[in-house]
Amino acid sequence: MPNKDQIEQILFEVIKELNEELPFDQHIDVQLESPLFGQSGKLDSLGLVSLIVRAEEKIQDQLGISITIADERAMSQTKSPFTTIRNLSEYISVLVIENEKD
């Protein structure tokens, strides 16, 4: 069972990769409270899709766990799990636990 740190580290790696493709003014700080998507986030929906797909792939490659990071609340301003790196990491932890139960 992967711990919180592992998931956070994976997300940091994803953000670093993403930053290489984004214009400088859209770079995301590699820290837990960085906003991602929504009110103060810098990602547009295309950027969010890119982040999610990379995260799924890295979790598969590094942890051997296959999850789909899709959520009805993705586009919601307040309840979205995609607002900050911390929220996303917590959300992924839940998905990983659910995946183990299946």
Binding site: L46, S50, V53, E56, Q60, S66, T68
Partner: protein, 237 residues
């Protein structure tokens, strides 16, 4: 991650019928083809891999995509051919049949398209081809569940074409003419003749009619062709 220069194509529903023909044809054309169906296949080739799965089983489909990503590092073309039909009066159609039709045709196409789009972003070229049917514009009696599921595929094709344009992926659909496969084997001759009469070109179709259209959709020059549904034989309702 290995990345091959050869085009990588997924075709669903390759154990028989149109899908089987497409698998053989594109292997002959030199592509890497990955096929799937619920049953085994007796088609073997160095450039063909078969997965036994239900197209609407999320776990199994994701596992197939994980292998494709590992082995080929990309995906270029997806043909959502797997489909089931039921030709029956709606009053005589069991709900389990309706569910299976929608799960295979709509959920299967949605799921395989979603996972395909994720892998296609590596190539800056992506082609998704779905399967419609002339029963949609004709709103054929006796095909309420089947034609409704295919109408959903038409809508999906057009919305995906908008959502995926940013990734340079085009999404189009083929409406095959009536082709003599198991799918229409149980349809009475009279019904098929009536169906053909409502086409501009009143003959049964061949597999080559379908490959010709798919070849057009997948050409690099067809990058402006998206969200289109082509009903072969000319059917307009």
């Amino acid at each position: 991650m290995k990345k091959t220069d050869t085009k990588v194509m997924i075709i669903t529903g390759t154990s028989k019928g149109i899908g089987r023909h497409l698998a053989e044809y594109y292997v002959d054309q030199g592509l890497h083809v990955i096929g799937c169906s619920r049953s085994k296949t007796d088609f073997y080739s160095a450039n063909y891999r078969h997965f036994i799965l239900d197209v609407f089983d999320e776990k199994a489909v994701r596992a197939m995509f994980t292998e494709i990503r590992r082995d080929y590092g990309k995906l270029d073309i997806t043909i959502n051919n797997a489909g089931v039909a039921s030709m029956n009066h709606s009053i005589l159609t069991p709900i389990d049949t309706v569910r299976n039709i929608f799960e295979t045709n709509v959920v299967g196409t949605f799921l395989v398209s979603r996972e395909s789009a994720k892998l296609m972003r590596y190539v800056n070229y992506g082609r998704i081809i779905n399967f419609a049917t002339g029963a949609v514009p004709l709103k054929l009696e006796g095909e309420a569940a089947y034609a409704s599921s295919k109408a959903a595929i038409v809508q999906l094709t057009q919305i995906l074409s908008k959502e995926l344009a940013e990734f340079k992926i085009t999404v189009n659909a083929v409406g095959p003419p009536a082709i003599k496969t198991d799918l229409i084997r149980s349809v009475p001759k009279q019904k098929l003749d009536d169906f053909l009469k409502r086409h501009a070109i009143k003959r049964y179709g061949d597999f080559s009619d379908v490959t010709n259209l798919i070849n057009f959709f997948i050409k690099p020059e067809s990058e402006m062709v998206t969200g289109q549904v082509v009903y072969l034989g000319g059917v307009f309702g």
